[in-house]
């Protein structure tokens, strides 16, 4: 029987994750673009790593890091009396880390902005901060929205890392992909099939909506 809890939880986790992903993606893309530091290429590869590593590997690394015996886990427990592992926060963390799509999209969007426009703003007395907010960001907006929507869709389907650090606690950490897996394991193919239809409809709507919006805004310039 289909429960709506995993659907609601998936949307909630994906929504919170993309908020983090959005700001972290923009911040890291901006910093990587603005500063010239040694080892930049290595850092760039590091940011892209979650895109190519199996999510379960990311989950394992997060488990080592934020688990009860992990360095971050110990610090959180000691200073904030907080435990991440097997909570919704863990699902959000997993969703955030496995989605470097925002960073990639933001980076591409920033690079697509005509540098002459940014230079024009500088010569008109704008600080780097003002150049970013009044020229770079508005002109990157279509790319940022694409990144945001794709990240949301990716996070909605997250399984490997989530099961490693959030587990499968119905009503607490069970998202749609986990519900599909455990329904299939219990041979409840009807329920699994219903969840498959629900997540397919949601993700299709998101991608369709994005493409429709891009079609309308492609001539923004």
């Amino acid at each position: 029987m289909v429960e709506w809890q995993p659907v609601i939880l998936s949307i909630k986790v994906a929504s919170i994750s993309v908020m983090f992903v959005f700001f972290l993606g923009i911040l890291s893309a901006y910093v990587m673009r603005s500063v010239d530091i040694p080892g930049k290429a290595a850092l760039e590869s590091f940011f892209t790593l979650p895109l190519v590593l199996p999510p379960v590997v990311i989950g394992f690394l997060l488990l080592i890091l934020v688990g009860k015996q992990g360095p971050v886990g110990i610090l959180l427990k000691e200073y904030f009396n907080m435990q991440i592992i097997f909570t919704q926060s863990a699902a959000v963390l997993a969703g955030t880390v496995v989605s470097p799509l925002m960073y990639q999209s933001t980076k591409a969007a920033f690079e697509s902005v005509d540098k002459t426009l940014e230079d024009a703003a500088r010569t008109l007395g704008a600080s780097e901060w003002r150049v970013f907010w009044t020229v770079t960001m508005p002109l990157s907006w279509p790319g940022l929205v694409s990144g945001l929507v794709l990240s949301f869709a990716r996070t909605l389907g997250e399984f490997g890392a989530t099961i490693m650090i959030a587990g499968n606690i119905p009503g607490k950490t069970q998202t749609i992909p986990l519900a599909i897996y455990f329904a299939t394991e219990s041979n409840d193919l009807v329920t699994a099939g219903m969840y498959v239809i629900i997540i397919s409809v949601i993700t299709f709507s998101i991608i369709f909506g994005l493409n429709h919006w891009k079609g309308k805004n492609i001539t923004l310039h």
Binding site: D119, A120, R122, T123, L124, A126, T134, H221
Partner: protein
């Protein structure tokens, strides 16, 4: 008064230029790739020379010995780019006001004066994509002057325009320079334009200043050069 004395290594040659620009239109003339735009970018602060100095009315923009390298925003130098670089996501009015730090009554007066002088009173609410080449040039000029610069740099300002607009705007450029009375440093590879607009012309070849127009600059009676002027450079 602007004094430029800089060296900068470029991929094919070393730019080595020294000149003083009074409150007139100084034309940097030479073929593509001779370093003209690099000079403008160094004056604007968008590029850093390797050595030398750039001083405007006593303000040191760049000095390799001190060392000082003011960022573009601290130089009060407006730059009109070859493709005008108008912000496509803003309308004409927002573009023109972009360089104004604090809106004031005086700024408003300057705005009214500029749009009247440049004959763009009917454009403020248009988007940039709705403008013709000539209109873009006028808007870019208004935006550059609205920032109340102490120097105006113009990179091939007329190259994107048709012949008719070019003639009209040549005269306007001269008129605006006389009204504003600041150095206009203009880059061009068109001998006609250099002759028509420049109070002074600096001839450039591979990053070096050539003091006299070469003999192959076939100056004819009406003060215009002919096609053979290009022979020196190509």
């Amino acid at each position: 008064m602007l004094t430029v004395d800089i060296k900068k290594k470029l991929s094919d040659f070393t730019l080595n230029i020294s000149f003083t620009a009074p409150n007139k239109t100084v034309v940097l003339f030479g073929p593509s790739g001779c370093g003209k735009t690099t000079i403008l970018r160094c004056i604007a602060g968008l590029l850093k020379p390797d050595e030398g100095s750039i001083i405007s009315n006593g303000t040191v923009f760049y000095a390799s010995q001190t060392p000082i390298h003011l960022p573009p925003r601290a130089r009060n130098v407006s730059y009109m780019f070859q493709d005008f670089a108008l912000f496509p996501h803003m309308n004409v009015k927002h573009n023109i006001w972009y360089g104004v730090k604090t809106p004031s009554h005086q700024a408003n007066e300057l705005y009214e004066k500029l749009i009247t002088l440049l004959k763009i009173e009917h454009l403020p609410h248009r988007t940039i994509s709705q403008l013709s080449g000539g209109e873009k040039q006028r808007v870019a000029m208004a935006r550059a002057l609205m920032a109340e610069p102490q120097i105006l740099l113009l990179d091939e300002p007329l190259s994107a325009l048709d012949a008719q607009s070019r003639y009209e705007l040549q005269d306007e450029l001269k008129r605006l320079q006389e009204i504003w009375n600041i150095p206009f440093i203009l880059v061009t590879h068109s001998p006609e334009e250099a002759q028509a607009i420049g109070s002074e012309v600096l001839f450039l070849h591979q990053g070096q200043q050539v003091s006299e127009p070469p003999p192959s600059w076939n100056m004819n009676g009406n003060g215009k050069t002919t096609r053979s002027s290009f022979q020196y450079f190509y």
